[in-house]
Each structure stands twice: as C-alpha cells, then as structure tokens.
Symmetry: C2
Subunit: 83 residues, 2 copies
Amino acid sequence: MARFMDVHSGMVGATEKDFRMAHEKDTAIEADEGVHFERSWLYPQTGKAFCLSTGPSKEAVLRVHERAGHPAAEVYEVPVEVS
Amino acid sequence: MARFMDVHSGMVGATEKDFRMAHEKDTAIEADEGVHFERSWLYPQTGKAFCLSTGPSKEAVLRVHERAGHPAAEVYEVPVEVS
C-alpha cells in the first residue's frame, strides 16, 4: 500500500458542506479500489484542494475521484513523510 | 491561527534523510514566526513536496521555509478540512 497526495483545481467557491459531500462520495466507493482517503483540505477562494490517501496505485486513487464526479488534476506518490 | 498547505517543486532526488534534515531546519526556527509544521510529504522522483502547517499567515510560513534555505513555490490557506 502506498501513500498519495492528489490536487484538485476547480472547486471554486465550494463551501465546507459541498466539500464534505464530495468527500463522502469518495469514501462511499473507495473500498472498491482499495483506496482510503485519510484527510482532505480545501482553499475555497481558488478552489484548490488536496487529498491525502493510501491505495494500491495512482490510477486507483484517480478512478475513485473520477467515479465520484470530481477528477483530480494531479496525483503524486509520497513515500516519504516526516512529522 | 490558520492552516496552510505549501508546495515545493525542486527537491529532485532528495532522500528521506535529506527531507528529514530540511524539516528539522524548519522546526528549529518555526516558533520565531508562530508557525508549526505538522506533517510533510515528499515525492522524490520529481522533487514535489507538500507541507501542512498552522500559523498566523501565508507570509510567516513562507518566511520559515525561506530562512531554512528551501523556499516554497506555492502556499494555500486551507480553512476547510475533512477526514
């Protein structure tokens, strides 16, 4: 299982409620692809969003977002984490 | 206190050790600016890195990275988080 960060660019003006609903669409189907979305963040002014997930591949992460109706613009595997 | 995600683009080929050292440079001085770096992630192949932090302003976050020697290419306030 690998860790990924994906980036969305088009959620301009999305509210916290919109974002929560989008996240729920992802989490409702994520298990089909072996993906789990851990945390997601939104910058409403420009519609930039970041999602941290684990899963088997970039493609699996992208498929979940695609099927949920909000495809990601970019996805990066992030094997290194510090905290 | 607000939450921020910043993005670096030039850490190509950085190892986990390099990344940890960079993070330690940030955390050594972050208190000067009222910033705290919570978690950071690296995609070594293209040198893309993401840092999640809290702090008083974008400028404060950027100043810590600048002073630590690895300026961020982008920074976004992310007031909305879901998990």
